[in-house]
Amino acid sequence: MLKAINLTKNYNGATALDDLNLNINAGEVFCLLGANGAGKTTTINLFLDFIAPDGGKALIKGFDVAEQPLETKKYLAYIPEQVNLYKNLSGLENLEYFSALAGQDRYTKEDLLGFFDEVGLRREAAENRVSTYSKGMRQKVGIAIALAKRAEALLLDEPTSGLDPKASNEFSELLKKLSGRGCAVLMATHDLFRAKESGTRVGIMRHGRLITELSTDEIGHADLERIYLENMRN
C-alpha cells in the first residue's frame, strides 16, 4: 500500500532522508521512531508530495506520488501532531467540508454525526466552533475525517504527542480499528509505549537512515526501549 524505494531528500546539501526503503501493507501499523531531526516528518512529507525527493520514489497503491499527486492523495489521510481545522467553523462543518473536498459529498448530517459517535466525540460538541475544542478532540476529528474519506492509508506525524494518557489510549484504539479494516498506517512517534501497543512493526531512524526494523510481537516494552537507546548510542 505504502512503499518507499531508495527515497532520498537533501536540504541545502545536508541529507535529511537517506535511501529509505519501506513497504507497508494493508492492515499494518508501521511506527517510525528516531530522535529529533531523524527524518520522520520528511518521510511523511514525501508521501504527501509536499516536498520533491532528490532520489528514489514514494508509491501509494503502486502510483508514484510525484507523478500522480492528486490520484494518490485520494487514498490518504494525514493527521499531524496538531490537526488543524477552521476555527470559525463548527466541528461538524469542518468534517463536512473536509469530506466533501475529499470527494465524499453525499453524507447526510446524521451520517456525519455517526462519525462523531464512532470516534467518541459527543454530539453536542459537533455544533460548537472548533476554537473551543481541546487538542484531543481535534485529533479525533482528524480520525473522523479519515473515516469519512474512507482512507486506505494513514500518515500520522506524532499524533498523540501532548495527549493525556486516556486520550492517547483512545486514539490508539481508533487506530487499531482502522487498521483492522485494512488501513495501512505509517506513524511517526516518540512514544515507545504507544509504538509497541499499537504498532505491528517499528523502524528506528537516525540521521536520515532507517537502521533497525522489528516486529512488535517479537519484543517486550523493555526490549524496545533498550534497542532504541542502543541504536541512538553508536
Partner: protein, 472 residues
C-alpha cells in the same frame, strides 16, 4: 467542489468580525457616495435647466436693441449632466460645466467646484468612482492577503492539500467565495445605481442608457478582479501572511496613488501648458498684432476697407450697399476665431496628449485604465469636455454671425444709433448639445479597455501560476 470551497470561504469571512466591519464601512461609503453623487448631479441639472431657460428668456426679450451690445450681452451654455456623472465626476470639478458665449472672445469655462474649494474640501469629496477605484481594492487586499498564507500559517493548507484538492480548484473556490462577499456590497450598489439612473433619466428626459451602465459595471468588475487575482497569487507565494500584506499594500499604493500621481506630473512636464494668464495674454497679443506680428489690427482694418470698396466698385465707404461696420465686426470675429482655433486647439491637444500618457501608464497601474474608462462612460472625461466646448464655441460663432449679418444688411453707414428689431433674437436657435454616442466613446477608450483586459488576463494567469507553485 469549487462551490463547496467558495461556500466555506464565504461563511468564514462573514463570521470574521474584523472583515465584516471593514466590508460594512466600505459598502456603506459606496452607497453614501452614490447617493450623494446622484443628489449633487440632480441639483446641478436642475440649476442648469433653470439657468438655461433664464438665459434664453433674457436673450429673446431684449426688445429693440443695438445688435452689437446684444452680442456683448451674450448667453450662457451649460454642459448637460450626463446620466452617469453621479458615479464619476471626472474632470468636471476642474474644467467647469458652464461657459459664457459673447462677442470677440472664446471664454474659459466657469463653475469649477475644485477652484472654489480649499484643498481639504477637495480631498473630502467622495465619489463612487473613488470608492470603487481606491477603497474597494484595499478592502479586497484585506480580505484576500491571508487566503493562502494564513492557511499555511494555521496549518489548514496542508490539511486541505492532503485531501487531494488541486491548487487550481482551491484558488478558484477562493475567488468565488470572495466574489460572494464582494457581491454583498456590489449588488446593492449596482441596484441603487440602476434606480438612480432611471430616476435621472425621468428627470432629464434622457433615456435610461442600460448598455452604458452595464459596460461601466463590467469595467469595474474587471478592474476589481485584478486585485482579487493578484492578492491570491501573492498570498500563495509569500513566505508569511504579513509579507503578503506588505507586498499587496505596496502594489495598492503603487497602482492607486504613486503611478497615477507620477504619470500626471510627468505628462505635464512632457506636454506643458501655459498658465491661464499667459494663455490669455498670448491670444490678446495675436489678435492685436496678427498671428505673425506683422499684421496689426489697424493695418487689417485698412486692408478690409480697400477690399470691400474694390469688391463693390465704389470709392467711398458710405456708397457700399452693405454696412461696413457689420463687415468689420465680422472680419474681426473671423480673425479672432482663427486665433482661438489655434490657441485652444494647441492647448486641448496638449491636454489630450497628457491624457494619453496617463493611459499609457495604465500598463503599470490598472487604476489609470479603470479611471479612464469610467470617466469616458460617465461622460466626464476631457475628450467629452472638449467636444462640448467646441459645440458651445460653434454656437457662439453662429450667434455673433447672425447679429453681425443683421448689422451689415440693415444698418445705414455711420448710423451709430441703429437698433435691431425685436424679432432678430429668435433667429439664433437655442443651444442644443448632443453628447457623443456610446460606440464613439468605446472607440476612443479602446486602448484603455485593452490594457484593462490585459491586466485581467495577466493577473488570472499569475494566480494560476502562483498557486500551482504554492508553498505548503
Amino acid at each position: 467542489m469549487i462551490y463547496k470551497i467558495a461556500h466555506k470561504e464565504f461563511i468564514e469571512t462573514l463570521r470574521d468580525r474584523r472583515f465584516f466591519v471593514a466590508a460594512l464601512i466600505v459598502g456603506g461609503l459606496l452607497l453614501v457616495s452614490l447617493a450623494l453623487g446622484w443628489q449633487h448631479s440632480r441639483q446641478i441639472e436642475r440649476q442648469h435647466e433653470a439657468a438655461a431657460e433664464m438665459t434664453r428668456k433674457q436673450w429673446l426679450s431684449q426688445g429693440e436693441k443695438a445688435p452689437h451690445s446684444a452680442a456683448h450681452y451674450g448667453v450662457y451654455a451649460f454642459k448637460p449632466q450626463m446620466p452617469l456623472a453621479f458615479v464619476d465626476r471626472g474632470v468636471e470639478a476642474y474644467t467647469g460645466v458652464a461657459v459664457w458665449l459673447e462677442a470677440h472672445k472664446q471664454n474659459d469655462f466657469r463653475y469649477r467646484s475644485a477652484a472654489d474649494q480649499t484643498a481639504l474640501a477637495r480631498f473630502g469629496e467622495l465619489t463612487a468612482a473613488t470608492v470603487l477605484q481606491i477603497l474597494l481594492p484595499l478592502l479586497i487586499i484585506l480580505l484576500a492577503f491571508n487566503a493562502f498564507a494564513g492557511e499555511r500559517e494555521s496549518g489548514t493548507l496542508r490539511q486541505v492539500l492532503s485531501l487531494g484538492v488541486s491548487a487550481k480548484n482551491l484558488a478558484f473556490g477562493k475567488v468565488l467565495g470572495l466574489t460572494g462577499v464582494l457581491a454583498l456590497l456590489l449588488v446593492p450598489a449596482v441596484l441603487i445605481g440602476a434606480v438612480a439612473l432611471m430616476l435621472n433619466g425621468d428627470e432629464a428626459g434622457e433615456p435610461f442608457n442600460a448598455a452604458r451602465f452595464a459596460l461601466l459595471v463590467i469595467g469595474y468588475l474587471l478592474y476589481l478582479s485584478v486585485f482579487v487575482f493578484v492578492s491570491l497569487a501573492v498570498s500563495a507565494r509569500a513566505s508569511s501572511s504579513r509579507f503578503a500584506l506588505l507586498v499587496l499594500l505596496g502594489f495598492w499604493i503603487t497602482s492607486c496613488l504613486i503611478v497615477p500621481r507620477a504619470a500626471t506630473d510627468i505628462a505635464r512636464r512632457i506636454y506643458p501648458t501655459a498658465s491661464a494668464l499667459e494663455f490669455a495674454a498670448q491670444m490678446e497679443n495675436d489678435i492685436k498684432n496678427g498671428t505673425d506680428g506683422h499684421n496689426p489690427s489697424d493695418k487689417r482694418l485698412a486692408d478690409l476697407k480697400n477690399e470691400a470698396m474694390q469688391q463693390y466698385g465704389v470709392s467711398r465707404l458710405e456708397d457700399l450697399p452693405v454696412n461696413f461696420d457689420g463687415i468689420a465686426l465680422q472680419a474681426g470675429e473671423d480673425f479672432g476665431n482663427q486665433v482661438f482655433d489655434e490657441h485652444y486647439g494647441n492647448l486641448w491637444n496638449q491636454f489630450e496628449r497628457q491624457d494619453k500618457v496617463r493611459q499609457l501608464a495604465a500598463v503599470l497601474a490598472p487604476q489609470l485604465a479603470a479611471s479612464s474608462l469610467s470617466r469616458g462612460l460617465a461622460g466626464t472625461d476631457f475628450a467629452q469636455h472638449r467636444d462640448f466646448a467646441i459645440a458651445a464655441e460653434n454656437h457662439r460663432r453662429l450667434l455673433i454671425r447672425t447679429i453681425n449679418e443683421d448689422t451689415m444688411k440693415n444698418a445705414r453707414y455711420g448710423d451709430t444709433k441703429y437698433v435691431a428689431s425685436a424679432n432678430l433674437w429668435e433667429k439664433v436657435p437655442e443651444f442644443q448639445y448632443a453628447a457623443p454616442e456610446t460606440a464613439a466613446i468605446l472607440k476612443k477608450q479602446s486602448g484603455g479597455i485593452l490594457v484593462l483586459f490585459g491586466w485581467f488576463v495577466v493577473s488570472i494567469l499569475l494566480m494560476i501560476w502562483a498557486t500551482a507553485r504554492m508553498r505548503v
